[in-house]
Amino acid sequence: MTDTIKAAPIPGKTNYFSIFTWAITLIMVAAIILGALVLAFNSFDICSAPLLFTTGALLIIIFLFIKKSLKINQYVLIALAAAAIISGVISNSLPVYLQGLNIHGIIHRSVVSGLLILGISVPGACYSLYYALRGTPRAFDISRYPLLIFFILSALAAYAMIIVHIIQGGTFQLHWSLFTSAFQSQSHIIETWENGWPSFTTVPVRQTGMLNHITGTLMLMLLTSLISLPVGVSVGVIVHEYAGRKLSGIINFSTNALRSISGIILAVTAINLVRLPKLGSFWYGVFRGYGYDVNGMIQYGRSSFLFASVFISLLVIPIIAKATKEGLSSLPADIHEGSLALGVSKDHTLFHIQLPWSLPNIVTGLMLGCAEAAGALTIIFLLSGVGQYGVNPLNETTSLAYLIFDSKYWQSLGDTLGDLKNYQFTAALVLLIITIGFTTMALILKRNLAKRYKGA
């Protein structure tokens, strides 16, 4: 592990070993970047075979250099060099498109060669960095950074591409009227009398905008937090106060399970529930959601905001409960016990000591819950609509997330989204601003909480 290089640098003499290994490290890092480019663009495939042969030759040179100057046989380097040369031969002899095995698609050569380049140049960079830093134990640590940083940069590049593309696509066709007008696609029937006979003409009422989707998202967030705040806080209090009892164990398990089981299971239950009431009854309107169109006719939706937010709050309750539990358990025992020792009742302690102390935690949980409610689509994507008949708790559910989802399936879902289909990235940008804004605020609050008084 720590074959420290004995040949210490002699002052006044050029240290060829150090210069040489640093140069090879730089070449290996360049090979990693080129490998990523080969994976990204087909036209970079020309340089893959020469790159692999060069890498193999450099690795053999390092091996010989170390053998000559240090009398150490690092056979790993020889194995890596052999792998590099073999994969160079492979990537040179492959046809441009790979086919066969009945696979639906043809795989470009650059996928294979790019993966081979990365697989050889990342360990190559680690080894050459190790020898460039003279093989000390600390050098062994530092030589592991290329491995870690490679994984992380490749993931972060994907996230950066997502965010940049959404900002670019969202601002491309942006105009203000999208946020001030609600989407509408109805037909207004006008009755006129001619010669004593009625005649009906239909006038299409069309409007492009996402005001109803934005207010729908805010409505879902509001209703969800109103429903889930009392339940989540009480779950947190009960689980914390009666820890160790069987009932609190059951409550804790089922609260965690609600978060962990698939949202689609909740959606199945919601759909079974929404089908229960009969047409025309009171609960039919409450569950389905209703509104009045331009002709004054009642229109039922697939589910109301109230119904949807009851089910979304099942996903938010665990978040708030966990935050409340954390807040209650962070209360220093001496404050709690001091209050009880002064003869204050348990309820009074709960409301005047424990809950005020954990209020910032609860607010953090609520913000995370709001971000969750804005983006929660698993439950409502089968139960939403356009929501063009107004936004109140008993109207048809709609949200920005549903608009984005529906922009692909607007035909199969049978909704006439029409012109809004072009603004899916604008909707994604607004949704991203809402959710990331709430998450960031929650993180800032959490960071301030960490600095709080933690007891004697």
Binding site: H104, I106, R144, K408, T435
Partner: protein, 324 residues
Amino acid sequence: MKIKSSIWNVRTIFLILSIIPVIALSLITLNLILGSVHAISTLGLNLFSNSFSLGIEPAKANPATLHYGLLPALWGTFLVILISICVAFPVSLALAILANDFSTGFLSTAIRWLIGILSGIPPVIYALMGSVFFIWFFFPKFAGQGLSSITNPPLPSPQMLPSDASCTLLGGLMLALLLIPFITPLLDDAFQSVPATLKEASLSLGANRWYTLKSITIPNALPGIVNSLLLGILTALGEAIIVSYCIGFSTRSLPTPVFDVLQRTAPLTSIIATLAGGGFSSSKLVGPIGTSVASFAGLLLLIVAFIILGVTSYLQRKMKARLA
């Protein structure tokens, strides 16, 4: 002075409110069990056959004419979980190691903030970007056309990729992007729960950081690592938006070479969405048996989720006992 308060004090109200999750969970379980009885009694073992297609259900249903086999969906679930975990878990491990053992101060704080912010991205954003990634990456690489078609030689065969920018590999990769901000904090907690004294003792004896990580941190954090892996699998199992958008809503049968990830093999959650579906035009064909099959598939997911949750709570208890 009031000694005994009435029954309707604050604690009772809290207790009643906190029983709501228990009631909800038991109602959901009961609904799935009762809903799946019809499918099990009608179809029996045909539920696991290798053919799935939506058609008009006859009034007198003959099990042989109904195609509600869940085998393709189960295979699709397995493929999606395999791809997403294989991509997401090493990256999360690297992030957690870099944040904990290989950096101090600014870098680890920056990584934790970045992961916290990224965890706020809702799944539908990844689903939407899946189609963009498909045009950027999958068409030039797997179909031989698209952005780089000018420089490329002409196609050796007509492209066979699905035309609506969807395949199993894409769904798995986009799901991996969702999983990374979910798994990394769990792994971070697991690494942080290892006592600092152990690490410091190892470092002070002259071992370097990599050796300490290999021989002290990872063996001690192993229950936590397995826990976060299982929770990641559970999230990948239950995710419905990304897989519906990036893979599709139904699969007729197993892909012809079974490992072919360039076809569309819709997982269980998409199949449930199709069969239970509120507004999908195809789901208007689905009759009572199809709805019941959706409940049965949901029940399968629920059973797997309960097993994984049981294992994770056992592991968490083990971790606590080790620390105490």
